[in-house]
Amino acid sequence: TAVNEALHEALESDGKAVVFGEDVGFGGVFRCTTGLAERFGRDRVFNTPLCEQGIVGFGVGLAAMGHRAIAEVQFADYIFPAMDQLVNEAAKYRYRSGGQWDCGGLTVRAPCGAVGHGGHYHSQSPEAYFTHTPGLKVVVPSGPREAKGLLLASIRDPNPVVFFEPKMMYRTSVEDVPEGDYELPLGEARVVREGSDATLVGWGPQVKVLVAAAKELEETDGAQCEVIDLRTLLPWDYETVCASVSKTGRLVVSHEASFTGGFGAEIAAFVSERCFLRLESPPVRVCGQDTPFPGHAHEPLFLPTQQKVVEAVRSSIGY
């Protein structure tokens, strides 16, 4: 996988980089760490016992002492015991020590997102909780090529990064991933598709949905939608988004995570303020329902599907 390649590059290029987490030794439950232990040794790639708080906390300490600590949390749903260490320790280390120490070397990777059958605890997208934490960076790639470049950039970024990998894409995404070492910039969004009628903003697995919706709208309504993959949520590229909305006059933000308090709210509020006079219609959010992530039977009803996005864009345009 692209993530695997990125990890190989990261460990190769920096002798102080280590990878650890539950089951990473045999390659991990999603095969992201395949071959690493064999190539770099079990001193640098090792399994930890089952203790997320300990794993991340230990990573904070390791990073503070100058290592690149790449911690894996097996599913983003399990990141919550580690949240204390991330929010209270990792995010504040540089700030509270007046710059003497920092854990910039810490990268926490976690698979997130709906996968069709994950249920309550293998499907969540918890990015919003972390975007509320100054001192952390939050990154969500939308495909393999993005994942490799963004992960390498995240590992090498001098700030602690929480890197959410949409698990749906481990198996379904087929893309040409450039060989070798390359980075994609953090804090910069990517314009996936250009258009002048509406701006659609998303990240991770939702980007594909937005592109499909844009294509549908072009065919049926002749509407030209601009699709933006945010890539980094904290800090997010408001310049690219505002420039786009200033051009199109309409904003639709879409994410799998629940509607209320989701990161889409931040984007909508910011754009409303900055682009008020350029807006033709109110910014709209198409998101997961305000319920816990449901069981298999209700998953399609919960998620922000292509159809829901299309309808939202249509009402924006027809406002």
């Binding site: 089951d23 249920g119 605890y121 329902q289 298999h296």
Partner: protein, 376 residues
């Protein structure tokens, strides 16, 4: 649920002094032997049926089967009363069955049907049943232990503070070897001891946490060469015992002792059951890491044929009688599939129910209609 006096269970008053003792035949009544055997048969048959249904696409998601560990579920839970509490993990189907949750409703839950024990909203890893005091079903390891501790606390509170003599329910928390390295485990051992709670911590040590070998995940105590989870009881102020988890009589005897202790108000116990899962961690696990020799060793100790052999050898039941029990259980399992198949799927509006106490919180609009169009 309110304290309920179920039908008096035949609790063998086994005076077991040594851990890992094989239960003596005199301790087990004939009725209890049948109860244990049938319960293990149900556990095994049900899980085998789950595997079949999964590969036929009737069941989805993450399914973790219990094959091989039946002696623990049957031995412990069949020693409990109906109003005692059980708190489990994601490997919870058989715990639910042993606790008395009807196979029909467990299978329906797995199929995601409205007649499932959680209305189809929980799935494989979340078996909750209020009438049976089955407190779930947790996807997250260690998550259930504090919940179980809370349940035990409320029993102790009713008894000691509110003076309710009938408040003598016992709570059993089940979890695995991997979980014993989690902070929540230690926090709860301490609280249980401090507050002298009627709780039994049941460690199902099957040596593997997905792909992590217990022997490489847990440090041994000082002076030991291997880790021993049962030894963690004493530092926290409770007895810790090692039990052969492949021997249902040994499990049952150890459970009875711990239950009697808890019910008498003497506090918690830590029981470590040596057991093994015959299948992979989940149905998605290729199970490539465990050595065939290890699997064979434990396959030879399969609790079902072992118990059957004992019953026959001691003349407790005849071959025909045992076969009749096997057929009876087979029929229950097949009926559960028919029931689940015939049951309806949950309604769409069920998605928005039970988020808050008041469904109008998010689910129902002013006009009384469901709001699931809202964010579309």
């Amino acid at each position: 649920g309110a304290p309920r006096r179920g039908a008096a269970r035949c609790r063998a008053a086994a005076a077991v002094k040594e851990p890992a003792a094989s239960g003596s035949s005199s301790a087990l009544s004939r009725e209890k032997a049948a109860d244990l055997y049938k319960d293990m048969l149900l556990g095994r048959g049900f899980e085998d049926m789950c595997a079949q249904m999964y590969y036929r696409g009737k069941m989805f998601g993450f399914v973790h089967l219990y094959n091989g560990q039946e002696a623990v579920s049957s031995g412990v839970i069949r020693a409990l009363r109906e109003d005692d509490f059980v708190c489990s993990t994601y490997r919870d189907h058989v715990h639910a069955l042993s606790k008395g949750v009807p196979a029909d409703n467990v299978m329906a839950e797995l199929f995601g049907k409205a007649t499932g024990i959680c209305r189809g909203q929980g799935g494989s890893m979340h078996m909750f049943s209020e009438p049976h005091n089955m407190l779930g079903g947790f996807a997250f390891i260690g998550e259930g232990i504090p919940v179980a501790t809370g349940a035990a606390f409320q029993t102790a509170y009713r008894r000691r503070v509110l003076g309710d003599e009938a408040a003598d329910q016992v709570t059993c928390a089940f979890f695995g070897d991997g979980t014993c390295n989690n902070g929540a485990f230690y926090e709860c051992l301490n609280m249980a001891s401090l507050y002298k709670l009627p709780i039994i911590f049941c460690v199902e040590n099957n040596l593997w946490a997905i792909g992590m070998d217990h022997r490489r995940a847990t440090a041994p105590s000082m002076g030991d060469s291997k880790p021993h989870i049962w030894k963690k009881g004493e530092p926290f102020g409770m007895p810790g015992k090692l039990v052969d988890g492949m021997d249902v009589e040994a499990v049952h005897a150890a459970a009875n002792e711990a239950i009697a202790r808890a019910r008498a108000g003497e506090g918690p116990t830590l029981l470590e059951f040596e057991t093994y899962r015959f299948r992979g961690h989940s149905l998605a696990d290729p199970d490539e890491l465990r050595k065939p020799e290890e699997k064979e060793l434990f396959a030879k100790r399969d609790p079902l044929p072992a118990f059957k052999k004992k019953l026959l050898a001691r003349g407790v039941y005849t071959e025909e009688e045992l076969k009749a029990m096997e057929k009876e259980v087979e029929a229950v399992v097949e009926a559960s599939v028919e029931f689940a198949d015939a049951s309806p799927r949950p309604q769409e509006n069920q998605l928005l129910e039970n988020v808050f106490a008041d469904p109008r919180g998010f689910g129902i609009g002013e006009d009384g209609r469901y709001l699931y169009e809202r964010n579309m």
